[in-house]
């Protein structure tokens, strides 16, 4: 943490010359410096001491680097630095939420050990969203002011309430066309019930598809069995390949090639390399090594499948090393978490990841529509309700957007997740790129502010950022990271017709 007491004994800081910055001593004895402008530098111990003690000559290279990046008080180029700050915090000026998560049903045909969504048996059709509620939910989403909207079908398993998926897709497309708003529709599904007819509809209507794949059968089937027992991985792989083939076979749909997400449990630990190899072999192009959160069913089975943040960081590094290895051998495979963080670090822009925002993306960037028409601050907030605590309900589909923003919970979430209000975050070197989840804090520690020094959230993100910072110092890894960002630039340019 960035307190003067953390500076080695005997150093005499030149407080008049130092700009405002946070710092962290990294393993290996070097120092990471960051500032609110979103700029960073990695200094060796000797360099850091010269900087802190104000002993750098005006003309030397390090002095120039520090000055350009806004670390020296008498060398601020406010125009350039402010431009960076505006780019980094662009989301703070977004007009309303872009991501609208539709829980079309709470039913599911899998019995995942960690299911965050805390789903119910397929017979419970009473948990399906009705068409009337679905229409109101679309109308509500379109009542928010953002010119860009994304509707994401979630569950439960969305394919179990197919009529609502069809209706929402078609109705939202009509509205977007009339109002000249950009709309993206996506679906997170286990694919098990995906028929040819449904796939035709989804591809024809440009619905982006994403599934869950936790790795080889030994890992996946252990935590994601079919309801009533039995393996699901082979079926998921078969369908994933089918969808891939269809999307790849049509140039107009290639942008919508399916994605897959993995969730890390304790059972994943022995299989880091095999998980990454499977993703590389499938040609999906990306893998998201996601942490597990003690929310929903996962909270109940945490003792069996949960882990300490340090264990996750170790696993994450093994996965990232394997990803880098595949890239060096010529396979473009992007690790999404690294990509998200590095977009912030290297490009100083916001990649649109709700968890890593200050204030958080809950309500301001996303809303979750429950199947009964209640609106929650985020999908995690909805899960807390399913576990019996409706604290994160902020409105209803027949209410107004203004009323959601004026809801006391919204104000509390915004305040609790603004990092300048949080003791440890305020001094953290990773502050310019990080964020807090009040729902996580509430579930794990009993209130929305949390106790950051003991928070699993904080320790996990610190661990991941530590890994990424170490990798950034490796020229070979840096080359791969730069290639990911360049590929994304190209993809965005194609999408925007540039």
């Amino acid at each position: 943490m960035s307190r003067l007491t953390d500076i080695p004994a005997g150093w005499v800081p030149d407080l008049k010359r130092l700009g405002a910055f946070n710092f962290r001593r990294m393993d290996g004895g070097w120092w990471l410096l960051t500032n609110e402008w979103g700029r960073y530098l990695m200094l060796e111990e000797g360099e850091f001491r010269l900087f802190v003690e104000g002993k750098l000559g005006d003309g030397d290279a390090l002095s120039r680097r520090l000055g350009e990046a806004g670390f020296l008080r008498d060398r601020m180029d406010f125009g350039a630095l402010a431009k960076g700050w505006l780019a980094r915090t662009d989301f703070q000026r977004h007009q309303g939420p872009t991501l609208h998560e539709f829980v079309t049903t709470m039913r599911c045909n899998l019995a995942c050990r960690y299911c965050h969504s805390s789903v119910v048996d397929p017979s419970r059709t009473d948990t399906d969203m009705s068409l009337e509620t679905a229409k109101k939910a679309v109308d509500f989403a379109f009542s928010t002011p953002s010119p860009n909207l994304a509707i994401e079908f979630q569950g439960g398993e969305p394919l179990l309430n197919w009529p609502v998926v069809r209706f929402v897709t078609q109705y939202a497309r009509r509205r977007a066309e009339r109002e000249k708003r950009r709309l993206m529709v996506s679906m997170v599904s286990n694919f098990v019930l995906l028929s040819d007819e449904k796939l035709d509809f989804l591809l024809e209507n440009f619905v982006a598809l994403c599934t869950s794949l936790d790795g080889p059968a030994a890992v996946h089937d252990r935590v994601r069995p079919l309801l009533g027992g039995g393996p699901s991985q082979a079926r998921v792989l078969e369908l994933l390949c089918r969808v891939q083939k269809r999307a790849a076979g049509d140039g107009t749909k290639s942008y919508y090639k399916p994605g897959a997400l993995m969730t890390t449990t304790r059972h994943s630990f022995p299989h880091a390399e095999a998980i990454i190899d499977l993703y590389a072999e499938l040609g999906i192009g990306s893998v998201f090594v996601r942490k597990l959160s003690p929310i929903g069913y996962a909270k109940r089975v945490w003792g069996e499948i949960g882990y300490e943040p340090a264990e996750f960081a170790e696993f994450y590094e093994r996965c990232l090393d394997r990803v880098l290895e595949h890239n060096r051998k010529g396979t473009l495979l992007v690790e999404r978490w690294a990509f998200t963080c590095l977009t912030k670090v290297l490009r100083n822009t916001d990649p649109g990841y709700m968890d890593l925002r200050s204030p958080t993306g809950a309500v301001l960037g996303c809303l979750a529509y429950n199947s009964d028409g209640r609106i929650f601050s985020s999908d995690e907030g909805r899960m807390a309700d399913h576990a019996g605590d409706p604290l994160f309900e902020v409105g209803r589909v027949d209410g107004t957007w203004a009323a959601v923003l004026d809801h006391p919970t919204t104000g509390a979430l915004v305040h609790a997740s603004t990092l300048d209000n949080q003791p440890m975050c305020d001094h953290c070197a990773y502050k310019p790129w990080c964020g807090l989840c009040p729902v996580y804090n509430y579930e794990a520690q009993g209130n929305i502010f949390g106790r950051v020094p003991e928070s699993g959230w904080c320790r996990t993100y610190m661990g991941v950022f530590d890994v990424l910072m170490r990798k950034l110092r490796d020229p070979e890894a840096r080359k791969v990271f730069d290639s990911w960002l360049a590929a994304e630039d190209g993809r965005v340019a194609v999408k925007e017709g540039k």
């Binding site: 977004h94 007009q95 068409l131 379109f142 002011p145 109002e179 301001l364």
Partner: protein, 121 residues
């Protein structure tokens, strides 16, 4: 189990928030002397009292620390919070939300009917 903590370190507000946070774990009763709070913690389930006391005081201290940080950064934090909420509203004079017109409502009804006809599959 009772513990005495100095008023100079722990504010009543921090203790109240900590007590609320711990309400599932323990009942907290507060009495006071001129210089100290006297806290009595009654656990709801059997647990080590020393750990409970330590956790509770950590929570209170964390709240206290948060107040100080939030006070110190009040200007910049409030600016960001207000800016984010105002932008999300659509600016200072947000446009009225667009409501579906009669033609769109008709289209929606037709889509709904078609979907219903198609059944659950």
């Amino acid at each position: 189990m009772s513990v005495k903590v100095p008023k100079a370190v722990y504010s009543e507000r921090a203790l109240a928030i900590a007590a609320r946070t711990f309400s599932r774990r323990a009942e907290v009763f507060v009495e006071e002397t001129k210089t100290h709070w006297v806290l009595t913690l009654e656990p709801r389930a059997k647990e080590a009292l020393a750990a409970l006391e330590g956790d509770f005081l950590n929570e209170a201290l964390s709240q206290e620390c948060r107040f100080l940080t939030a006070e110190f950064n009040e200007t910049i934090a409030s600016l960001q919070e207000t800016q984010a909420l105002l932008a999300a509203r659509g600016g200072e004079a947000p446009a009225a939300p667009v409501k579906p017109d009669a033609a769109l409502e008709k289209e929606a009804a037709a889509l709904m009917a078609a979907v219903r006809k198609g059944g659950k599959s």
